[in-house]
Protein backbone atom coordinates (compact mmCIF):
# COMPACT_ATOMS: atom_id res chain seq x y z
CA UNK A 1 0.00 0.00 0.00
CA UNK A 2 2.89 2.29 0.80
CA UNK A 3 4.43 1.73 -2.60
CA UNK A 4 1.09 2.33 -4.23
CA UNK A 5 0.80 5.61 -2.36
CA UNK A 6 4.24 6.72 -3.42
CA UNK A 7 3.47 5.75 -6.96
CA UNK A 8 0.22 7.63 -6.95
CA UNK A 9 1.84 10.69 -5.46
CA UNK A 10 4.61 10.54 -8.05
CA UNK A 11 1.94 10.69 -10.68
CA UNK A 12 0.19 13.50 -8.85
CA UNK A 13 3.41 15.45 -8.57
CA UNK A 14 4.29 14.85 -12.18
CA UNK A 15 0.78 15.45 -13.46
CA UNK A 16 1.15 12.68 -16.00
CA UNK A 17 -0.76 9.54 -16.85
CA UNK A 18 2.31 7.30 -16.76
CA UNK A 19 4.78 6.55 -14.00
CA UNK A 20 6.65 3.68 -12.44
CA UNK A 21 7.81 2.81 -8.97
CA UNK A 22 10.71 0.50 -8.17
CA UNK A 23 11.04 -1.13 -4.77
CA UNK A 24 13.91 -3.09 -3.31
CA UNK A 25 13.90 -4.71 0.11
CA UNK A 26 16.41 -6.81 1.97
CA UNK A 27 16.34 -8.20 5.47
CA UNK A 28 17.57 -10.81 7.87
CA UNK A 29 16.11 -12.72 10.78
CA UNK A 30 14.87 -16.17 11.63
CA UNK A 31 12.32 -18.56 10.19
CA UNK A 32 10.64 -21.82 11.10
CA UNK A 33 8.73 -23.30 8.19
CA UNK A 34 6.16 -26.01 8.82
CA UNK A 35 7.75 -29.46 9.07
CA UNK A 36 11.19 -27.88 8.85
CA UNK A 37 13.87 -26.96 11.34
CA UNK A 38 14.30 -23.39 12.61
CA UNK A 39 16.98 -21.46 10.77
CA UNK A 40 18.46 -18.04 10.21
CA UNK A 41 16.78 -16.23 7.32
CA UNK A 42 18.08 -13.81 4.72
CA UNK A 43 15.67 -12.38 2.20
CA UNK A 44 15.72 -10.11 -0.80
CA UNK A 45 12.65 -8.79 -2.56
CA UNK A 46 11.97 -6.33 -5.30
CA UNK A 47 9.23 -5.06 -7.48
CA UNK A 48 8.22 -2.62 -10.13
CA UNK A 49 4.75 -1.18 -10.46
CA UNK A 50 3.43 1.43 -12.78
CA UNK A 51 0.73 2.88 -14.90
CA UNK A 52 0.56 3.69 -18.57
CA UNK A 53 -2.63 5.61 -19.14
CA UNK A 54 -5.35 3.27 -17.88
CA UNK A 55 -3.27 0.11 -17.69
CA UNK A 56 -1.65 -0.94 -14.43
CA UNK A 57 1.29 -3.30 -14.36
CA UNK A 58 3.10 -4.87 -11.45
CA UNK A 59 5.94 -7.37 -11.14
CA UNK A 60 7.22 -8.63 -7.79
CA UNK A 61 9.67 -11.28 -6.72
CA UNK A 62 11.38 -12.52 -3.58
CA UNK A 63 13.93 -15.11 -2.56
CA UNK A 64 14.28 -16.40 1.00
CA UNK A 65 17.34 -18.33 2.09
CA UNK A 66 16.50 -20.42 5.15
CA UNK A 67 20.14 -21.01 5.99
CA UNK A 68 20.95 -24.70 6.27
CA UNK A 69 17.42 -25.72 5.26
CA UNK A 70 16.88 -24.49 1.73
CA UNK A 71 15.76 -21.68 -0.52
CA UNK A 72 12.20 -20.68 -1.34
CA UNK A 73 10.90 -17.91 -3.53
CA UNK A 74 8.09 -16.53 -5.59
CA UNK A 75 7.37 -14.20 -8.49
CA UNK A 76 4.10 -12.57 -9.51
CA UNK A 77 2.89 -10.16 -12.11
CA UNK A 78 -0.27 -8.59 -13.41
CA UNK A 79 -1.49 -6.40 -16.24
CA UNK A 80 -4.82 -4.78 -15.47
CA UNK A 81 -6.94 -2.37 -17.47
CA UNK A 82 -8.55 0.25 -15.25
CA UNK A 83 -11.95 1.89 -15.64
CA UNK A 84 -13.86 4.38 -13.54
CA UNK A 85 -17.58 3.93 -14.20
CA UNK A 86 -19.17 6.54 -11.98
CA UNK A 87 -17.61 6.52 -8.54
CA UNK A 88 -16.34 2.96 -8.97
CA UNK A 89 -12.80 1.89 -9.77
CA UNK A 90 -12.73 -1.34 -11.79
CA UNK A 91 -9.76 -3.42 -12.92
CA UNK A 92 -9.80 -6.32 -15.37
CA UNK A 93 -6.89 -8.36 -16.68
CA UNK A 94 -4.57 -11.32 -16.36
CA UNK A 95 -2.16 -12.14 -13.57
CA UNK A 96 0.38 -14.90 -13.01
CA UNK A 97 2.24 -16.35 -10.07
CA UNK A 98 5.10 -18.75 -9.58
CA UNK A 99 6.44 -20.21 -6.38
CA UNK A 100 9.08 -22.64 -5.29
CA UNK A 101 8.95 -24.43 -1.97
CA UNK A 102 12.09 -25.83 -0.37
CA UNK A 103 13.21 -28.91 -2.26
CA UNK A 104 10.34 -28.72 -4.73
CA UNK A 105 9.94 -27.74 -8.35
CA UNK A 106 8.46 -24.40 -9.36
CA UNK A 107 4.68 -24.27 -9.25
CA UNK A 108 2.85 -21.73 -11.38
CA UNK A 109 -0.60 -20.34 -11.93
CA UNK A 110 -2.32 -18.01 -14.38
CA UNK A 111 -5.61 -16.30 -13.81
CA UNK A 112 -8.05 -13.74 -15.09
CA UNK A 113 -9.03 -11.12 -12.56
CA UNK A 114 -11.84 -8.64 -12.13
CA UNK A 115 -12.03 -6.31 -9.15
CA UNK A 116 -14.20 -3.34 -8.22
CA UNK A 117 -13.71 -0.75 -5.55
CA UNK A 118 -15.56 2.27 -4.29
CA UNK A 119 -14.66 4.94 -1.78
CA UNK A 120 -17.46 6.25 0.42
CA UNK A 121 -15.78 8.95 2.45
CA UNK A 122 -13.70 7.24 5.12
CA UNK A 123 -14.83 3.78 3.97
CA UNK A 124 -13.50 1.96 0.93
CA UNK A 125 -15.17 -1.30 -0.11
CA UNK A 126 -13.80 -3.69 -2.70
CA UNK A 127 -14.63 -7.05 -4.14
CA UNK A 128 -13.03 -9.28 -6.72
CA UNK A 129 -13.18 -12.55 -8.59
CA UNK A 130 -10.24 -14.53 -9.90
CA UNK A 131 -10.40 -17.63 -12.09
CA UNK A 132 -7.30 -19.56 -13.06
CA UNK A 133 -5.34 -22.72 -13.61
CA UNK A 134 -2.25 -23.96 -11.82
CA UNK A 135 0.45 -26.55 -12.34
CA UNK A 136 2.28 -27.95 -9.35
CA UNK A 137 4.60 -30.87 -8.79
CA UNK A 138 1.62 -32.98 -7.85
CA UNK A 139 -0.65 -32.29 -10.80
CA UNK A 140 -2.93 -29.68 -12.29
CA UNK A 141 -5.62 -27.54 -10.72
CA UNK A 142 -8.25 -25.03 -11.64
CA UNK A 143 -9.43 -22.55 -9.09
CA UNK A 144 -11.63 -19.57 -8.49
CA UNK A 145 -11.18 -17.03 -5.75
CA UNK A 146 -13.87 -14.50 -4.77
CA UNK A 147 -12.89 -11.97 -2.14
CA UNK A 148 -14.34 -9.01 -0.31
CA UNK A 149 -12.72 -6.46 1.96
CA UNK A 150 -13.15 -2.95 3.30
CA UNK A 151 -10.97 -0.20 4.72
CA UNK A 152 -12.52 1.92 7.43
CA UNK A 153 -10.37 4.94 8.27
CA UNK A 154 -10.73 6.63 11.66
CA UNK A 155 -8.05 9.24 12.20
CA UNK A 156 -4.66 7.60 11.93
CA UNK A 157 -6.20 4.12 12.11
CA UNK A 158 -7.49 1.94 9.30
CA UNK A 159 -9.59 -1.13 10.14
CA UNK A 160 -9.84 -3.77 7.44
CA UNK A 161 -12.17 -6.76 7.63
CA UNK A 162 -11.40 -9.29 4.88
CA UNK A 163 -13.04 -12.39 3.48
CA UNK A 164 -11.65 -14.67 0.82
CA UNK A 165 -12.61 -18.07 -0.51
CA UNK A 166 -10.54 -20.32 -2.76
CA UNK A 167 -12.19 -23.33 -4.37
CA UNK A 168 -9.57 -25.59 -5.95
CA UNK A 169 -10.30 -28.55 -8.21
CA UNK A 170 -7.18 -30.75 -8.24
CA UNK A 171 -6.21 -33.42 -10.74
CA UNK A 172 -3.63 -35.33 -8.74
CA UNK A 173 -1.11 -37.56 -10.39
CA UNK A 174 -1.36 -40.97 -8.71
CA UNK A 175 1.38 -43.54 -9.24
CA UNK A 176 1.24 -47.09 -7.98
CA UNK A 177 3.17 -50.18 -8.78
CA UNK A 178 1.26 -53.29 -9.73
CA UNK A 179 3.19 -56.49 -9.44
CA UNK A 180 2.62 -60.15 -9.51
CA UNK A 181 5.01 -63.00 -9.39
CA UNK A 182 6.09 -62.50 -13.00
CA UNK A 183 5.74 -58.78 -13.80
CA UNK A 184 6.00 -55.38 -12.17
CA UNK A 185 4.59 -52.27 -13.85
CA UNK A 186 3.76 -48.72 -12.98
CA UNK A 187 0.13 -47.61 -13.11
CA UNK A 188 -0.20 -43.87 -13.64
CA UNK A 189 -3.56 -42.15 -13.34
CA UNK A 190 -5.20 -38.95 -12.27
CA UNK A 191 -7.78 -38.61 -9.56
CA UNK A 192 -9.78 -35.57 -8.67
CA UNK A 193 -10.47 -33.78 -5.45
CA UNK A 194 -11.93 -30.42 -4.47
CA UNK A 195 -10.70 -28.21 -1.70
CA UNK A 196 -12.67 -25.25 -0.37
CA UNK A 197 -10.53 -22.86 1.62
CA UNK A 198 -12.07 -19.86 3.38
CA UNK A 199 -10.14 -17.13 5.10
CA UNK A 200 -11.77 -14.56 7.36
CA UNK A 201 -9.53 -11.90 8.80
CA UNK A 202 -9.20 -8.52 10.36
CA UNK A 203 -6.41 -6.02 9.79
CA UNK A 204 -5.42 -2.82 11.52
CA UNK A 205 -3.07 -0.12 10.26
CA UNK A 206 -1.83 2.94 12.06
CA UNK A 207 0.32 5.64 10.57
CA UNK A 208 1.57 8.98 11.74
CA UNK A 209 4.29 10.88 10.01
CA UNK A 210 7.29 8.70 9.39
CA UNK A 211 6.08 5.74 11.43
CA UNK A 212 3.52 3.20 10.27
CA UNK A 213 2.46 -0.09 11.83
CA UNK A 214 0.14 -2.78 10.61
CA UNK A 215 -1.08 -6.18 11.65
CA UNK A 216 -3.69 -8.73 10.81
CA UNK A 217 -5.16 -11.93 12.18
CA UNK A 218 -6.83 -14.44 9.88
CA UNK A 219 -8.68 -17.67 10.54
CA UNK A 220 -8.74 -20.37 7.85
CA UNK A 221 -11.37 -23.06 7.66
CA UNK A 222 -13.23 -25.04 5.04
CA UNK A 223 -13.95 -28.45 3.57
CA UNK A 224 -10.99 -30.81 3.80
CA UNK A 225 -8.90 -28.17 5.51
CA UNK A 226 -7.25 -28.21 8.91
CA UNK A 227 -8.44 -25.02 10.56
CA UNK A 228 -5.60 -22.70 11.49
CA UNK A 229 -4.99 -19.15 12.56
CA UNK A 230 -2.16 -16.96 11.39
CA UNK A 231 -1.10 -13.44 12.04
CA UNK A 232 1.44 -10.91 10.88
CA UNK A 233 2.70 -7.63 12.27
CA UNK A 234 5.00 -5.07 10.74
CA UNK A 235 6.40 -1.64 11.46
CA UNK A 236 8.12 0.76 9.10
CA UNK A 237 10.07 3.86 9.99
CA UNK A 238 10.73 6.20 7.08
CA UNK A 239 14.33 7.36 7.37
CA UNK A 240 14.32 9.43 4.20
CA UNK A 241 11.61 9.97 1.58
CA UNK A 242 12.97 6.88 -0.20
CA UNK A 243 14.35 4.58 2.52
CA UNK A 244 12.55 2.89 5.39
CA UNK A 245 13.59 0.59 8.19
CA UNK A 246 11.13 -2.31 8.22
CA UNK A 247 10.57 -5.06 10.76
CA UNK A 248 8.09 -7.90 10.32
CA UNK A 249 7.07 -10.89 12.33
CA UNK A 250 4.33 -13.42 12.04
CA UNK A 251 2.97 -16.78 11.20
CA UNK A 252 2.12 -17.07 7.51
CA UNK A 253 -0.35 -19.57 6.14
CA UNK A 254 0.34 -22.14 3.49
CA UNK A 255 -0.52 -21.07 -0.06
CA UNK A 256 -3.15 -23.58 -1.21
CA UNK A 257 -3.04 -23.08 -4.98
CA UNK A 258 0.74 -23.32 -5.44
CA UNK A 259 1.25 -25.62 -2.47
CA UNK A 260 3.77 -23.39 -0.66
CA UNK A 261 4.25 -24.19 3.00
CA UNK A 262 3.55 -21.79 5.83
CA UNK A 263 5.67 -21.02 8.86
CA UNK A 264 6.89 -18.45 11.32
CA UNK A 265 9.39 -15.70 10.66
CA UNK A 266 10.89 -12.53 12.08
CA UNK A 267 12.95 -10.11 10.01
CA UNK A 268 14.49 -6.66 10.18
CA UNK A 269 15.46 -4.99 6.94
CA UNK A 270 15.70 -1.95 4.73
CA UNK A 271 13.26 -0.97 2.01
CA UNK A 272 14.16 1.46 -0.74
CA UNK A 273 11.46 3.07 -2.88
CA UNK A 274 12.74 4.74 -5.99
CA UNK A 275 10.71 7.37 -7.80
CA UNK A 276 11.49 8.49 -11.30
CA UNK A 277 11.29 12.10 -12.36
CA UNK A 278 8.65 12.48 -15.02
CA UNK A 279 8.17 15.84 -16.69
CA UNK A 280 4.65 17.21 -16.46
CA UNK A 281 2.54 17.15 -19.57
CA UNK A 282 0.68 20.41 -20.22
CA UNK A 283 -2.57 18.68 -21.14
CA UNK A 284 -2.42 16.55 -18.02
CA UNK A 285 -1.76 19.58 -15.85
CA UNK A 286 -4.68 21.42 -17.39
CA UNK A 287 -6.97 18.44 -16.77
CA UNK A 288 -5.72 18.09 -13.23
CA UNK A 289 -6.36 21.68 -12.16
CA UNK A 290 -8.01 21.88 -8.77
CA UNK A 291 -11.50 23.32 -8.56
CA UNK A 292 -12.09 25.74 -5.70
CA UNK A 293 -15.75 26.63 -5.26
CA UNK A 294 -16.93 29.10 -2.64
CA UNK A 295 -19.99 28.00 -0.63
CA UNK A 296 -21.47 31.05 1.05
CA UNK A 297 -19.04 33.18 3.07
CA UNK A 298 -17.82 30.43 5.36
CA UNK A 299 -17.29 27.38 3.18
CA UNK A 300 -15.30 26.14 0.26
CA UNK A 301 -15.54 22.96 -1.83
CA UNK A 302 -12.24 21.60 -3.14
CA UNK A 303 -12.15 19.08 -5.98
CA UNK A 304 -8.98 17.34 -7.12
CA UNK A 305 -8.20 15.00 -9.97
CA UNK A 306 -6.02 12.14 -8.79
CA UNK A 307 -4.71 9.14 -10.74
CA UNK A 308 -7.30 6.46 -11.38
CA UNK A 309 -5.27 4.04 -9.29
CA UNK A 310 -5.74 5.99 -6.05
CA UNK A 311 -7.75 3.99 -3.51
CA UNK A 312 -8.21 6.61 -0.82
CA UNK A 313 -6.97 10.12 -0.23
CA UNK A 314 -6.67 12.35 2.80
CA UNK A 315 -6.22 16.09 3.17
CA UNK A 316 -4.54 18.09 5.92
CA UNK A 317 -4.55 21.85 6.04
CA UNK A 318 -4.62 24.85 8.32
CA UNK A 319 -8.36 24.68 7.51
CA UNK A 320 -8.51 21.38 9.43
CA UNK A 321 -6.03 22.36 12.15
CA UNK A 322 -3.72 19.95 10.28
CA UNK A 323 -5.83 16.96 11.21
CA UNK A 324 -6.03 14.52 8.27
CA UNK A 325 -9.54 14.08 6.88
CA UNK A 326 -10.73 11.74 4.14
CA UNK A 327 -11.61 13.01 0.68
CA UNK A 328 -14.74 11.57 -0.98
CA UNK A 329 -14.73 10.19 -4.49
CA UNK A 330 -17.38 11.81 -6.68
CA UNK A 331 -19.41 10.25 -9.45
CA UNK A 332 -17.07 11.71 -12.07
CA UNK A 333 -14.04 10.11 -10.42
CA UNK A 334 -12.70 13.24 -8.77
CA UNK A 335 -12.01 13.66 -5.06
CA UNK A 336 -13.67 16.38 -3.03
CA UNK A 337 -14.07 17.84 0.40
CA UNK A 338 -16.08 20.72 1.84
CA UNK A 339 -14.41 22.85 4.50
CA UNK A 340 -15.04 25.99 6.47
CA UNK A 341 -12.72 28.66 5.10
CA UNK A 342 -12.24 32.37 5.54
CA UNK A 343 -10.74 34.43 2.74
CA UNK A 344 -7.00 34.52 2.41
CA UNK A 345 -4.18 32.10 1.67
CA UNK A 346 -4.36 28.64 3.20
CA UNK A 347 -1.85 25.81 3.21
CA UNK A 348 -3.01 22.39 1.99
CA UNK A 349 -1.42 18.95 1.55
CA UNK A 350 -2.93 15.67 0.43
CA UNK A 351 -1.82 12.08 0.76
CA UNK A 352 -2.91 9.26 -1.54
CA UNK A 353 -3.00 5.67 -0.30
CA UNK A 354 -1.01 6.54 2.85
CA UNK A 355 1.77 8.09 0.79
CA UNK A 356 3.73 11.19 1.81
CA UNK A 357 2.15 14.63 2.14
CA UNK A 358 2.49 16.54 -1.12
CA UNK A 359 1.04 19.68 -2.65
CA UNK A 360 -2.32 18.87 -4.26
CA UNK A 361 -2.35 18.70 -8.04
CA UNK A 362 -3.53 21.91 -9.62
CA UNK A 363 -2.78 24.18 -6.66
CA UNK A 364 0.21 26.51 -6.55
CA UNK A 365 3.01 24.87 -4.55
CA UNK A 366 5.58 26.44 -2.25
CA UNK A 367 8.37 25.28 0.02
CA UNK A 368 6.72 24.26 3.29
CA UNK A 369 9.80 24.91 5.42
CA UNK A 370 9.95 21.27 6.46
CA UNK A 371 11.76 19.89 3.44
CA UNK A 372 8.74 19.33 1.19
CA UNK A 373 6.05 21.31 -0.61
CA UNK A 374 2.70 22.67 0.45
CA UNK A 375 -0.18 23.75 -1.75
CA UNK A 376 -1.36 27.34 -1.49
CA UNK A 377 -5.13 27.71 -1.58
CA UNK A 378 -6.43 31.19 -2.32
CA UNK A 379 -9.94 31.71 -0.98
CA UNK A 380 -11.63 34.91 -2.07
CA UNK A 381 -14.67 36.60 -0.61
Amino acid sequence: MKAAGLLAMAMIAAGTSAAAQVRFETGGGASHLDQMASSPLTSVAGGVAGYIRNTRFQLDGNSDDHVGVGVSGSVSGLLHAQFNPGAWHVEVGPSARGGRDIGAAWARSMSGDIAAERSLGPVTVRGGWQFGVATTGGGHSSFYRPDFSADIRLGNFTFSPTWQSVVIHDSILAVRFVSDTMNSERDTSYRARTRDVRDVGFGLKWATGALSMSGHVTRRFGAGIVAQTWWEGSAALRLTPFASLVTKSGRIASEPVLGLRGGKYTTVGLRVDMLPHVAPHPAAERANRAVVERIGHEGVRLRFTLPASVRHATLASDLTDWKPIALSRTDDGRWEVVLSAKSGIHRVNISADDGPWLAPPGLPAADDGFGANVGLLVVED
Partner: protein
Amino acid sequence: MQALLLLGSAAPVTAQDPRIAARFPAAVAIRLSSIVDSAGHDGLPTDPLVLRALEGQVKSATTEQIVAAMNRLRSALSVSRRTLGADASSVELTTAAAALQAGVPENRLVELHQLRGTLSVTAPLSAYLDLTSRGAAPDAAWDRIATLAKRHASDAEFGRITPADVGTKKPGRSGGGPTAEEQ
Protein backbone atom coordinates in the same frame (compact mmCIF):
# COMPACT_ATOMS: atom_id res chain seq x y z
CA MET B 1 -2.24 37.96 50.65
CA GLN B 2 1.18 39.26 49.67
CA ALA B 3 2.37 35.68 49.20
CA LEU B 4 -0.55 34.96 46.89
CA LEU B 5 0.26 38.03 44.82
CA LEU B 6 3.89 36.93 44.54
CA LEU B 7 2.82 33.45 43.49
CA GLY B 8 0.46 34.94 40.94
CA SER B 9 3.15 37.10 39.42
CA ALA B 10 5.50 34.13 39.03
CA ALA B 11 2.93 31.99 37.20
CA PRO B 12 2.70 32.02 33.37
CA VAL B 13 0.42 34.82 32.27
CA THR B 14 -0.91 33.09 29.14
CA ALA B 15 -2.55 29.71 28.75
CA GLN B 16 -1.07 27.18 26.37
CA ASP B 17 -2.99 26.70 23.13
CA PRO B 18 -4.94 23.45 23.64
CA ARG B 19 -4.03 22.25 20.13
CA ILE B 20 -0.34 22.42 20.93
CA ALA B 21 -0.84 20.86 24.35
CA ALA B 22 -2.77 17.98 22.79
CA ARG B 23 -0.31 17.13 20.03
CA PHE B 24 3.14 17.65 21.48
CA PRO B 25 4.99 16.26 24.49
CA ALA B 26 4.85 18.65 27.45
CA ALA B 27 8.44 19.89 27.16
CA VAL B 28 8.09 20.58 23.42
CA ALA B 29 4.71 22.21 23.93
CA ILE B 30 6.22 24.64 26.46
CA ARG B 31 8.99 25.55 24.05
CA LEU B 32 6.60 26.12 21.14
CA SER B 33 4.13 27.99 23.31
CA SER B 34 6.83 30.44 24.35
CA ILE B 35 7.20 31.47 20.69
CA VAL B 36 3.43 31.85 20.37
CA ASP B 37 3.21 33.86 23.60
CA SER B 38 6.07 36.10 22.60
CA ALA B 39 4.37 36.89 19.28
CA GLY B 40 1.12 37.58 21.08
CA HIS B 41 2.85 40.05 23.39
CA ASP B 42 4.15 41.85 20.30
CA GLY B 43 0.63 42.19 18.95
CA LEU B 44 1.11 39.60 16.19
CA PRO B 45 -1.56 37.03 15.30
CA THR B 46 -0.78 33.80 17.11
CA ASP B 47 -3.01 31.39 15.21
CA PRO B 48 -0.72 31.15 12.16
CA LEU B 49 2.15 30.18 14.47
CA VAL B 50 0.09 27.50 16.19
CA LEU B 51 -0.94 26.16 12.79
CA ARG B 52 2.67 26.10 11.58
CA ALA B 53 3.56 23.98 14.60
CA LEU B 54 0.67 21.61 13.89
CA GLU B 55 1.75 21.37 10.25
CA GLY B 56 5.22 20.37 11.35
CA GLN B 57 3.76 17.76 13.68
CA VAL B 58 1.64 16.10 11.01
CA LYS B 59 4.67 16.06 8.70
CA SER B 60 6.87 14.46 11.36
CA ALA B 61 9.27 17.39 11.44
CA THR B 62 11.78 17.55 14.25
CA THR B 63 11.30 20.01 17.09
CA GLU B 64 14.19 22.08 15.79
CA GLN B 65 12.62 22.25 12.32
CA ILE B 66 9.30 23.32 13.82
CA VAL B 67 10.94 25.97 16.00
CA ALA B 68 12.87 27.31 13.01
CA ALA B 69 9.75 27.41 10.85
CA MET B 70 7.80 29.21 13.57
CA ASN B 71 10.58 31.75 14.06
CA ARG B 72 10.76 32.43 10.32
CA LEU B 73 6.99 32.95 10.23
CA ARG B 74 7.09 35.18 13.28
CA SER B 75 9.77 37.30 11.65
CA ALA B 76 7.68 37.60 8.48
CA LEU B 77 4.62 38.55 10.52
CA SER B 78 6.66 41.25 12.27
CA VAL B 79 7.73 42.72 8.95
CA SER B 80 4.13 42.58 7.74
CA ARG B 81 2.91 44.39 10.85
CA ARG B 82 5.59 47.06 10.49
CA THR B 83 4.73 47.54 6.82
CA LEU B 84 0.94 47.38 6.93
CA GLY B 85 0.45 49.14 10.25
CA ALA B 86 -1.46 48.45 13.40
CA ASP B 87 -4.83 48.39 11.64
CA ALA B 88 -3.96 45.43 9.42
CA SER B 89 -6.18 42.42 9.98
CA SER B 90 -4.90 38.99 10.92
CA VAL B 91 -5.76 37.72 7.43
CA GLU B 92 -3.80 40.56 5.84
CA LEU B 93 -0.79 39.94 8.03
CA THR B 94 -0.88 36.21 7.35
CA THR B 95 -1.16 36.73 3.59
CA ALA B 96 1.62 39.30 3.61
CA ALA B 97 3.82 36.96 5.63
CA ALA B 98 3.15 34.19 3.11
CA ALA B 99 4.14 36.55 0.32
CA LEU B 100 7.36 37.55 2.09
CA GLN B 101 8.22 33.91 2.69
CA ALA B 102 7.55 33.19 -0.99
CA GLY B 103 10.20 35.76 -1.92
CA VAL B 104 8.22 38.97 -2.40
CA PRO B 105 10.59 41.85 -1.49
CA GLU B 106 9.57 44.05 1.42
CA ASN B 107 9.66 47.18 -0.75
CA ARG B 108 6.94 45.70 -2.98
CA LEU B 109 4.78 45.14 0.06
CA VAL B 110 5.29 48.78 1.01
CA GLU B 111 4.45 49.87 -2.55
CA LEU B 112 1.28 47.79 -2.63
CA HIS B 113 0.15 49.06 0.77
CA GLN B 114 0.58 52.66 -0.42
CA LEU B 115 -1.28 51.99 -3.65
CA ARG B 116 -4.18 50.27 -1.91
CA GLY B 117 -4.56 52.91 0.80
CA THR B 118 -7.27 51.73 3.15
CA LEU B 119 -8.10 48.69 1.02
CA SER B 120 -6.84 45.26 2.01
CA VAL B 121 -3.74 43.86 0.33
CA THR B 122 -5.00 40.28 0.72
CA ALA B 123 -6.57 39.88 -2.73
CA PRO B 124 -3.69 41.40 -4.77
CA LEU B 125 -1.06 39.48 -2.82
CA SER B 126 -3.01 36.24 -3.18
CA ALA B 127 -3.35 36.85 -6.91
CA TYR B 128 0.37 37.60 -7.23
CA LEU B 129 1.36 34.38 -5.45
CA ASP B 130 -1.10 32.41 -7.55
CA LEU B 131 0.27 33.89 -10.79
CA THR B 132 3.94 33.36 -9.99
CA SER B 133 3.40 29.82 -8.79
CA ARG B 134 1.65 29.06 -12.09
CA GLY B 135 4.70 30.15 -14.05
CA ALA B 136 4.17 33.86 -14.61
CA ALA B 137 7.33 35.95 -14.44
CA PRO B 138 7.44 37.78 -11.09
CA ASP B 139 8.14 41.20 -12.61
CA ALA B 140 5.40 40.89 -15.19
CA ALA B 141 2.93 39.63 -12.60
CA TRP B 142 3.81 42.46 -10.23
CA ASP B 143 3.37 45.08 -12.94
CA ARG B 144 -0.10 43.73 -13.60
CA ILE B 145 -0.99 43.73 -9.90
CA ALA B 146 0.38 47.25 -9.39
CA THR B 147 -1.52 48.56 -12.43
CA LEU B 148 -4.79 47.25 -11.02
CA ALA B 149 -3.97 48.53 -7.53
CA LYS B 150 -3.31 52.03 -8.88
CA ARG B 151 -6.82 52.25 -10.23
CA HIS B 152 -8.29 50.80 -7.02
CA ALA B 153 -9.55 47.63 -8.68
CA SER B 154 -11.93 45.40 -6.76
CA ASP B 155 -10.77 42.18 -5.11
CA ALA B 156 -12.65 40.18 -7.74
CA GLU B 157 -10.64 41.80 -10.54
CA PHE B 158 -7.40 40.56 -9.01
CA GLY B 159 -8.82 37.07 -8.78
CA ARG B 160 -9.60 37.03 -12.49
CA ILE B 161 -6.01 37.56 -13.69
CA THR B 162 -4.46 34.53 -15.37
CA PRO B 163 -0.85 33.87 -16.40
CA ALA B 164 -2.04 34.34 -20.00
CA ASP B 165 -3.18 37.88 -19.14
CA VAL B 166 0.23 38.68 -17.75
CA GLY B 167 1.88 37.34 -20.88
CA THR B 168 -0.48 39.23 -23.17
CA LYS B 169 0.19 42.51 -21.41
CA LYS B 170 3.98 42.05 -21.28
CA PRO B 171 4.91 39.88 -24.26
CA GLY B 172 8.49 41.10 -24.34
CA ARG B 173 9.34 40.18 -20.77
CA SER B 174 11.37 37.12 -20.07
CA GLY B 175 9.09 34.41 -18.77
CA GLY B 176 6.10 36.67 -19.05
CA GLY B 177 4.51 34.80 -21.94
CA PRO B 178 1.81 32.23 -21.59
CA THR B 179 2.74 29.20 -19.55
CA ALA B 180 3.01 25.78 -21.10
CA GLU B 181 -0.49 24.83 -20.10
CA GLU B 182 -2.02 27.70 -22.05
CA GLN B 183 -0.06 27.05 -25.23
